[in-house]
Amino acid sequence: MHVVRAEQLSALHDEVGALVRVLARFRWRLGFERALLFGLRGVIGSALAVVGLSLAVWLVVGLDDRLTSYAWVVALPLVGALGLAVLRWPSDRQAALAADRRLQLDERLGTAVELARRLRRQTHGQRFDRLQIRNAIEQANLAPGGWLTLDQRVRREALLALVLIVIAGGSLLLPSLPRPSLTRQQPAASSVDAGQLELAQRALPLDTPESAVADAPAVQPRARTSPDLASLASRVQQAQAERVALDALSQALGRVSAAQPAADAIQQGDYSTAKQQLTNLGDEADQLSDAAKQQLASALQQAATTTGSADRQLADRERQAAQALGRGNYVDQRQALRNLGDQVERSGARSESPDQLERDAGQLQQQSDAQGAGTLTRASGTVSQGPGVPAPRPGAGVDATAAAPEPSGGQGPAGHGGQLNGAGIGTGPGGDPLGDTASRLDTAGQSVAVPLMLGTGAGVRPPDGTEDQTGTDPTAGASGVAEQVQAQQTGQVTPEQNLVPSEQRPVVRGYFQ
């Protein structure tokens, strides 16, 4: 009895030994493949390091002397990757599972490894353990397959490594080329400044002439802040448009009770919840009544029209959802509402929160005010110093640079009605009040208290949005003008103090003529 048992144990251990030998073969094979893959990744990393170093040596003066001390940067990725491959060398079980999968052994080796482990622990196995291990070994030996399996991923990474090695080799030639001169970039910087300046001028509601800006050295440092302002203005405008689009969608959804949670979420700025709610609405679209679907479709169509170009993608999704709801196909409706939810989340992520938007708008307003005041002050200063710079348009008295040599009411060499510091009447011939302020002031010596075109105070844009520029008491700021505008609109000021909206100017002109 004991002899039979000992023979059985011996046979079992023979089969386990044979299994271990088969697995060792698969472990080497899998480990080598893994090392190859990791090695390729290491080569890719090293090649990138070579390119980076070459660029650094080419661009930075004095680095080429210390190049050899940076060699470890190149070696590190390759060594690290190979080290990782060794550390992650496959175990018996991993090798067995991989062999089962690749050689289509139907989990024979994986099962055999478990049985062998159990045999080692328990010293006796179940009825079919030996048979199973033997069957696994036979099938593994019969399985086809070469030493290496280079699948699509390995081939792709090998190709990438090859390309990067070539690039790295080419980059080694960089240090032998002449270094790029940094001074060459100076004119480009100047041109960028000029472009930014122009952008800022367009963004700001100020009519500072280019010549004044270009000629006055004192203006230039100030103009460097203009790109920031222009960028802020653009950002605020975009954010406002996107917010309006989302608000329109929120209102549209709020018209149907089933979509109310989504509307609320958009209103609260919780766009991920809004997306989820819209997805839920899509899933339950088949439970909506036809009337509710029609109502939602028309509301979405309307929202799409409102959204328009402010957020084209959102408008498209709204339109698609409206069309799907109108068609009555559940799958289309679900997909369209799901797409709309995704787009809401994306648009929401882009747009700023209402608080941030408000802060940005406030900041923009403050900067605009400050910039306006500064520009007008500078323009006045130019006038007082200049011997008379020709105005760009004859009779354009609004130009600060078309300054008269006279302290008040004088005529410029080409422009009439240039004014300086205090009330006065121009005497120049004809001209439009906007482009030709002189005609507006052509009152034949009659004394009329007309707000100043220029002054030391802050400038203000007329409430009708025209290009006209008005001034007021030099000591008054922008807020003073705004108050006057409001007072005039409410009839609390005399016509002489009128700021003259554009549509009424012909009437006023006729009156004075």
Partner: protein, 336 residues
């Protein structure tokens, strides 16, 4: 990969004996039943696993003939119960009757019902009321019948092969979930193809054919059951079967999307047991001594389709449990 096992020693011979018996049984059945190879294979696997089978199909597709043929080929004691709406539990299980004793007195004696047989054909089981259907619960699970306070063991092996018409037909009662769960497999008997139908007509309208030969008996079936249960299963394979069952539960974190959408109650632990035991037999028939993922996938459908209870939305949309099982198989990865 289907490769034969070299019959080395007693163990190899036992496995080879199982394969030969199954092949002979399928051959004998095919002499009587035309086509339906998958149904015959499913019934065979369930018999060797010691499980009961529910066969569903339209009337006239040979369900009853299949069961009779198997009983004859395996030389099993066979009894047929035709389920009708007026059938009572005592008509199936048996009852205590008052008999005169030899001494002139009277005593109750148990008269066994038709369920006391090796192979019980519960024909059109869903035509009986749920009360009568439930009479089978104890017998199917415990293989014991309790009448009054006395339990009576059923003969071994014991199989219930039940047939039912599709639930949409008139005069049917759906089987309770507890009853359904006791069936190892549910197999759908489909309509034969044109060639098969022609062969059926040819075979049944000509001279009477010969009866199926006996290829085994009840004791050899019990031995085969013991052999099948000893086939080893790797932990990662049994884990796959477990994950499949867990994935069918909408309330569990392992539940997959299709279960959350369509399933009210997921499969019971009996489903996992049925998948593993069925996979073992499928593995032997495929020429292996171990269970593969492929075996689990092959037996998952008949083991799970009657154990998933769909929700109202899925039933309203016409989603079938077969589709849900297919989606489960697609959603659950083999290795994690």
């Amino acid at each position: 990969m289907q490769v034969g096992i070299e019959p080395r020693g007693a163990d190899g011979a036992a496995i080879e004996q199982l394969r030969r018996t199954v092949a002979a049984l399928e051959r004998e059945v095919s002499r009587v039943i035309v086509g339906q190879e998958l149904v015959v294979r499913g019934v065979t696997i369930a018999l060797i696993a010691g499980g009961h089978v529910l066969l569903e199909g339209l009337p006239g597709l040979g369900k009853t003939l299949l069961v009779r043929t198997i009983a004859r080929a395996l030389q099993l004691q066979y009894s047929r119960i035709q389920f009708t709406p007026d059938l009572m539990p005592a008509d199936i299980l048996g009852t205590n009757v008052l008999l005169e004793t030899a001494h002139g007195g009277r005593a109750f004696q148990f008269q066994p019902g038709p369920i006391f047989a090796n192979l019980v054909l519960a024909d059109e089981i869903n035509r009986a009321t749920p009360r009568t259907q439930s009479a089978l619960l104890e017998a199917m699970q415990e293989q014991v019948v309790t009448v009054g306070t006395v339990g009576h063991s059923l003969p071994r092996p014991f199989f219930v092969l039940a047939t039912q018409n599709p639930i949409e037909m008139e005069g049917t009662y759906p089987l309770p979930e507890a009853e359904l769960d006791r069936f190892f497999f549910k197999l759908l008997v489909g309509f034969p193809s044109r060639a098969e139908l022609a062969a059926i007509v040819d075979r049944t309208t000509g001279p009477r054919g010969e009866l199926p030969a006996a290829i085994a008996d009840g004791s050899s079936v019990l031995e085969l059951q013991d052999v099948a249960r000893e086939i080893p299963v790797a932990s990662h394979v049994s884990d796959y079967a477990v994950r499949l069952v867990l994935a069918s539960h909408p309330e569990l974190p392992d539940g997959v999307e299709t279960a959350r959408r369509n399933v009210r109650y997921g499969a019971s632990p009996r489903a996992a047991q049925a998948i593993i035991v069925g996979s073992k037999i499928h593995a032997i028939l495929a020429g292996r001594v171990n269970v593969a993922f492929d075996d689990v996938r092959r037996v998952a459908l008949p083991a799970l389709r009657h154990r998933l209870i769909l929700n109202y939305e899925a039933e309203a949309k016409g989603v079938t449990t077969d589709r849900v099982v297919a989606e489960l198989l697609a959603a659950v990865p083999e290795s994690q």
